[in-house]
Amino acid sequence: MRRRQELLLGGLGVLLAFGLCEAVSRAGLVRRSYLPPASEVLARAVELAGDSVFLEGVGATVRVWALGLGLACAIAVPVGLLLGSVPLVDEAVRAIVEFLRPLPSVALIPLVSLLLGSGTETKVALITYASVWPILFNTIYGLGETDPLAKDTLRAFGFGRLSVLVRVELPATAPFIAAGLRISAAIALILAVATEILAGFGEGLGIFIAQSGLATDGTRDVLAGVVWAGLLGLVINSVLVWGERRLFPWTPEHRGRR
């Protein structure tokens, strides 16, 4: 019942926003070349689904996204486990981490392009850099939140430090890591598209958006590309949320939903 209501309200919201965009453009409040009617943008977005060159671009973007996110995971989880379980190391690198973390990744695009060129390496490096932080901090936080009583229980059965890490701390932290991954997935997508837009050549969804922006009357294509980027984000998020619910049914926010 609740689920149906959520779906209904969600659909209503989308319809309303769509109608508003459509009306603003059709009524001539904004020039058509600035904001084409939503129906035209949508039609173009659907049309692009049959465009093999465009799809290859989207594929390229998804590839660098996945590669960057995977690398970020491979770095952030072990480092997070280390920092979270050895306070000495944590204190030693805390200052460096706090210095690096607030650097806006988008601002690093020119620098990294200069160093690595504007190909896949640059994109992957930037995506990795930006997506490391949420996963890293969630891993550290999750470890810190592990119930001491759960650890004591295992220790009382004669298990050692490593067993406690593998059998209690890791499963207890996994939902936090997954939540960090979900945040990072969105950031990674932003970085993938933004790097492409700023680089301006090669292939990818961002390239399509950037090049359409240069063409006369290209707004419709730009917006259709943006619709695709939004759709990608939506699909990725839904898959991850679904996966979290399947993998971690015991967490308080999922318990009632089975």
Binding site: A150, A156, F157
Partner: protein, 248 residues
Amino acid sequence: MLRLDSLGQRYGDHPVLRDITLTVPDGQLLCVVGPSGCGKSTLLRTIAGLLPTREGAVSIDGEPVTGVPDRLAVVFQDYGRSLFPWLSVRENVALPLRRRGLGRAERRSEAERMLEQVGLHGAGRRHPWQLSGGMQQRVAIARALVCRPSLLLMDEPFGSLDAQTREDLEDLLLDVHRAEGTTIVFVTHDIDESVYVGDRVVVLSAGPGARVVLDLPVALPGKRDQIGTRGLPEFVALRAEVGRAVRG
């Protein structure tokens, strides 16, 4: 045999336990009673080797306890936190057997046997958080007993259960104790419970620096039962004696 020799414990400058000397013979069910916050849990954690001993010594069969002793099991009050929610009930119960080097099939059948013994036949595939509080604590008891511990420590195990469930589990504990002959140290703040369950009741004084103020053997006749035993004049007298000691 469990021995505490002038055991003292402190958190920083704050004394928690002072000069506790006790000998618990094999197979005894010892209840430790005391006002809230007097250090009963600290005592249990020290025996379990989870806290280092500050003063005095703890020994089991003459061997000083420096880490977690072999063949130890602990049941905490907070089953919701001490059972692992990512494991099924059966996996929770089977977990301690991993330390015994048993194969997968053996672990499984031992866990099922234990679950049956605590009245949870058929619940093995469910998850702890899908069970009621009383059932969860039964799971914790099954997990504690599955590797036949020689020493079982229980920290207010029935403290957060309703009266009916608590009585059922007290009787379950007595049955298990009779069947397995495990040495049990049972911490509670419930005076009635201590007399009903224990072979012997030790009362700690209010902190800081709790001491033993009463050490009382419980000689109740016959097999205990919730209605009959609690009505016996011996039970009432013992309860009064423990109550007076707890109130100081």
